[in-house]
């Protein structure tokens, strides 16, 4: 009871992670614009976005621990934490030269697939139940579709479409997460059981 009263509202946690995804999106977009050779000229820069991704995975564990409204929420948050850490760690290993295979990029694809499935499975309401429900459905499908980009990057490393698609996905996720509200209407629809809307 005390813990729930000092916890931030869930929508705020979404905004904080949206900020992390926005950082990732900007870093990946700029890498896509300048190219990997220029991006890799400074060693710290190569580890920048994988490090942010890994840190976001670590920070997802407190979310899993404290936001236990249901078992399936806890499992979803736990799976995101693990796949984000896995993808971040794989990219860190590649950036540091410890890992060499291009197939490590598939960890990012796995991250998208697991995240997308977790979002879709743990959102049990229909699309127009509330804004949160709608955004969860969009996020889930967006993540599943976006898994194609790292797969394409693995097998077609020179593909600009895959590079920019991968980067833009993070910006899209950030925008969707910023749109999240605990209880709000979506396109004028708000289910009776969703609760009382607030700002």
């Amino acid at each position: 009871m005390i813990a729930s009263s000092i916890l931030p509202p869930a929508e705020m946690v979404h905004w904080w992670f949206a900020t992390g995804f926005l950082v990732l999106g900007l870093l990946l977009l700029s890498e896509a614009v300048v190219g990997p050779e220029v991006w890799g000229r400074r060693p710290w820069r190569r580890t920048l976005w994988p490090g942010v991704l890994f840190a976001m995975g670590v920070l997802m564990f407190p979310v899993m621990t404290f936001f236990t409204s249901s078992t399936i929420h806890m499992l979803a948050h736990g799976s995101w934490a693990q796949v984000m850490m896995l993808a971040g760690a794989a990219e860190l290993g590649v950036a540091r030269g410890k890992l060499h295979s291009r197939y490590w990029r598939l960890c990012s694809a796995l991250g998208f697939v697991v995240s997308g499935l977790a979002v879709l499975v743990h959102e049990q309401n229909h699309w127009l139940f509330s804004r949160t429900a709608f955004l969860h459905h969009v996020l889930g499908w967006a993540a599943l579709v976006a898994a194609l980009f790292p797969i394409l990057q693995t097998f077609r490393p020179r593909s600009h479409a895959a590079t920019f698609g991968f980067a833009t996905t993070f910006v899209l996720i950030a925008v969707l997460l910023y749109c999240d509200r605990d209880t709000a209407a979506i396109f004028g629809h708000l289910d009776f059981y969703a609760g009382v809307p607030h700002r």
């Binding site: 977009l29 700029s30 990997p36 020179r158 590079t163």
Partner: protein, 150 residues
Amino acid sequence: MDVSADVAHELKREKTKDAAAARDHALRARIVLALGPATAAGGVLWAIAQPWRLTLLHPFGQGFWWLVSEPPLYVVLVGLLFRWLVAPGLVEDMEAAGEGMETHGAAPDLRGRGLRRRASAPRGPATPARAIRKPESEAGRSGERQSGDT
């Protein structure tokens, strides 16, 4: 006579190619420099469209978390930090990579756009500008990657 004409045509082709590469180089630099301000502008527009999201504008009666969470400001902050911390180094490195072109007088100097060259900034050897456009080496994303599985 024919040989001189061939040399002249070759030089002209080289110059045209260099000029095109320089334009591409400048465009990329401008995009990188614009990413941060564009993001910050998005945050400002959001703050104007939904001023109630900024509880700092009316802080009385707000709880701790509502005062901490200012999402439009987060967006502005991310944009500004990217512009100050990441973009200048990237443009410097693009310039360093395009120094070959600058010797031909083709590459524009972007240092006049408020960028300071840091003497201590680590910088690799100058790379031909065409290498910037090469999106990916055969081995993978970073220059360090080699073929083979780990």
